[in-house]
Symmetry: C2
Subunit: 205 residues, 2 copies
């Protein structure tokens, strides 16, 4: 195989496995040896491509996590006229049970932020950036939706966006105690109630 191609392959294998393990065990609990053993790679291989564990993690966050968040939770918001429907649909899709051990990317942000807050300011900054990208986009869509009459005029779009994201991030913790399928159903149900309270009274269900 060509050299630079082989390099790309190795980096990719490292990143996807890394994302997998980081998501499962968190940043601090993940050790490189485990990842390398599973991939049959050596310390040397790793440090040839990344200059540190932190560097590795940031690379994953910026390349894999950010993209997934954007594709699943940000981009779909622009697809519909009514922002509340768009948000509902994107969350519904994002919570779809994945085949194999594919990940629910939105949650990882919250988990990592919780773990790395205080310590590891560098990494937190990147994570916060991604969350904020989601948030400002949602706020924008809500404001546009307000102008189009999809939301009541007195609604505080910033507050709504923060509240939606909060509930979404927090749900992971709750899901650990419950049946995921039921938890998803219940969550979307309550979100629907809440959204309904944001509609102009004329079109409220």
């Amino acid at each position: 195989m060509e050299k630079h191609l082989k390099s790309k392959v190795t980096i990719n294998r490292l990143c996807y496995k890394g994302l997998d393990v980081f998501a499962q065990k968190g940043y601090h609990n993940t050790n490189l040896n485990d990842i390398l053993r599973e991939l049959c790679l050596s310390k040397g291989a790793f440090y040839h491509h990344f200059k540190s564990k932190e560097d590795f993690f940031v690379y994953i966050v910026q390349n894999l996590v950010a993209q997934k968040i954007y594709a699943l939770l940000v981009e779909p918001l622009s697809a519909q006229e009514d922002p509340l429907s768009a948000i509902m649909e994107s969350l519904d899709k994002a919570l779809e049970p994945r085949k194999s051990n594919e990940l629910i990317y939105g949650f990882m942000l919250g988990d990592f932020l919780t773990e790395l807050d205080g310590k590891q300011e560098q990494i937190s900054a990147y994570l916060k950036d991604i969350l904020q990208m989601w948030e400002v986009n949602m706020i924008g869509m809500l404001k546009k939706g307000k102008l189009d009459g999809h939301l009541a005029r007195h609604i505080d779009c910033e507050g709504v966006a923060a509240y939606i994201i909060s509930s979404y991030l927090g749900m992971r913790t709750m899901m650990m105690n419950h049946n995921p399928k039921q938890a998803k159903y219940q969550y979307l149900q309550q979100l629907r109630h809440y959204f309904n309270s944001l509609r102009p009274s004329a079109i409220r269900a």
Copy 2:
């Protein structure tokens, strides 16, 4: 000082400082040496009172965290007729900015659960118990409130409780990006909207 009294004092100092540091840095990032240095105590002193770091943490959770959760978030729910008002009030109080570095106990549960899930099943179990105590109590109050006509009859009390707790736990992550005072205000505002959608239509504001 009497011996058993001195022992109690030492244990107390260890626990409160431990809670403080654990809450700030998480379980894995907290090392005993730091705690002991700040308290001018030795390894020997620690291991005389606790048999391990894990044992220490569990002791703190069961003795300090559980009590605070109960006092702040569980017990107040029974004080009022209307469960939604009671919940709103308890969360308002729980989010009150604390003097010095007193802690917002509710959040810690979520943080620790996030960090320790998977690994450290023992500890997670205790944390989950506390969360569940909160949840079942809230569900009970909601059901009672439904009978009394404070909630619409079609409301799914289990779903509502899970949703409220989710949003509360998730808010911490969001608060890291915002002004806490404003975040609290916005959060309670949105919660009010949501609660309003749960009322029987006759008494809806």
